[in-house]
């Protein structure tokens, strides 16, 4: 269930926080996998001592959004998935990985 093995250089970290997944409407792992495939080093807030990312992706499996961005302050860039929505705008599940990736790349100036 872990989101892949990551072999990235420092400075490409992306923090990922998942909701607990009681009844997700989307595959919660796909957006994070897209980041990993693009070279992001995924870190998990509260678990990784080396969580020095300035970007956090919060992935909620449905629109209830049990994990809110207010719980994770201190990141320069915050992206919130709530089911088929991205930062409050509708986004079909199939588009989520690409949209998340685009947003992350922009925060890095790529």
């Amino acid at each position: 269930m872990k989101s892949g093995v990551l072999t990235l250089q420092a400075g490409k970290r992306a923090a990922v926080k998942y909701c607990g997944g009681c009844n997700p409407r989307i595959d919660r792992e796909n957006p994070a996998r897209a980041l990993a495939r693009a070279g992001a080093l995924l870190v998990y807030p509260g678990r990784d001592a080396e969580d020095k990312a300035d970007f956090i992706l919060i992935i909620n499996g449905c629109e209830t959004g049990c994990v809110s961005p207010e719980e994770y302050p201190g990141y320069r860039h915050t992206l919130v998935v709530r089911g088929e929505s991205l930062n409050g705008r509708h986004c079909p599940e199939s588009d989520l990985p690409e949209q998340v990736l685009d947003a992350w790349l922009k925060t890095r100036g790529d």
């Binding site: 269930m1 872990k2 989101s3 926080k17 997944g21 009844n23 678990r47």
Partner: protein, 479 residues
Amino acid sequence: MMDGQQYLESLRRLKTEVYYAGERIEGCAADHPTVQPHVRSAAMTYELAHSPEFEDLLTATSHLTGQRINRFTHIHQSPADLAKKVKMLRALAQQTGSCFQRCVGFDALNAAYTVTHEMDRDNGTNYHQRIKDFLCYIQENDFMVAGSMTDPKGDRGLRPSQQADPDLYTRLVGKSQDGILIRGAKAHQTGIVNSHWMLILPTAALSEEDADYAVACAVPVDAPGVIHIFGRQTNDERRLSGVIDQGNERYSVVGGEALTILEDVFVPWERVFMCGEYKYAGALVERFASYHRQNYGGCKGGVSDVLIGAAAAAAEFNGVIKASHIRDKLAEMTLLAETLFSGSLACSWEGRATPSGACYVDPLLANVVKHNCTRMIYEIARLAHDLAGGIVATLPHEKDLKSPKTGPLIEKYLKGTSQVPTEHRIRIMRLIENMTSCTALAESMHGAGSPQAQRVMLIRQGNLERKKQLALRLAGISQ
């Protein structure tokens, strides 16, 4: 916190005495093929606590130590904690399609935590500090605790002290400076052969004559004098050979229950949480039962998610998924499952603080959930049978599928749609059979108490007198 492998290794260090099929299980019972699927299911509660995708539900912060702990060792601090418990159970059940057993001890800990506080407040005892010390120990070591409440009960028309055999309810048989001796048995013990501790609670409200039966305490499952007789389940011998015919080879079906015998078991005072305070037995039972009944819309909701998926897949493999009556039945199954889940969330969000500070569910709504479960799970299973078709009851043996003589014939004649391998069709039917067999359904009926127990609570909690007054007022009847 332990992970799944560490949990399994911790069980191997115990000397739990388990009997099954006429003999003692040699070595660790957790490694026995009949027990293994239940162990894997319980291990999921450890494994997912280390998974980024599930830790938000599977972990909590201890109110005693501030440490990150497995939620199954947590004392609920708020309605949000209670709701997270329900969501955690659903998430777990979606992964296992079966019972993961650890909620019973979780509920026993919360019940004992709240009631001991009230006992100490009223009587000047120190049970609450003892349960807090025990809880810290459980949290630190991430042990699995079996909730041991149900006594065999013998003649249900008689009180414990009136039974022809006094051991049919667990009781105090000795007391010394160091501790107490208890004797009796606990029935239907979910997950106990793969637990570390058992938390013993009285099974019913008690009167003064029954004071010796008012015992609550914690005992290691491998303590001297404790033996376990592992129960049979529908089709359990399929676990001894083959895979497909088990339906759910990894996690099996419900909890893996045992009859646990307590033959003059010594319990040191620091692990005794009630000893003779019969007036509090009813509160302990009611508190435990309500916490436990809260669960059923979570775990059965998750199990139902899997069964609904299996029924949909079966219909697809049969080539009928687009038929309107099939979709209507899937809608009905979804309605029932979400109704269960809604009730569990409702009794959680209506939770309230107890004097101990721990949060307690709304007992009326919790009993409604469990009572609904005694009906709705059967209806969900009935619809699954309907959608699967008669093949769910007539499939040939797995060995016939593998046989060079009969295998090709089965491949040819049990084919559904041409795109789906016959084996896939058989596998999904076996899963449905597994999830709707006798053991699975009977657990929905009697787990956390039989329906009549819930009806007693519905009348007690239902505020009938006020409802009568509402009616009388509107009818223009003054009193």
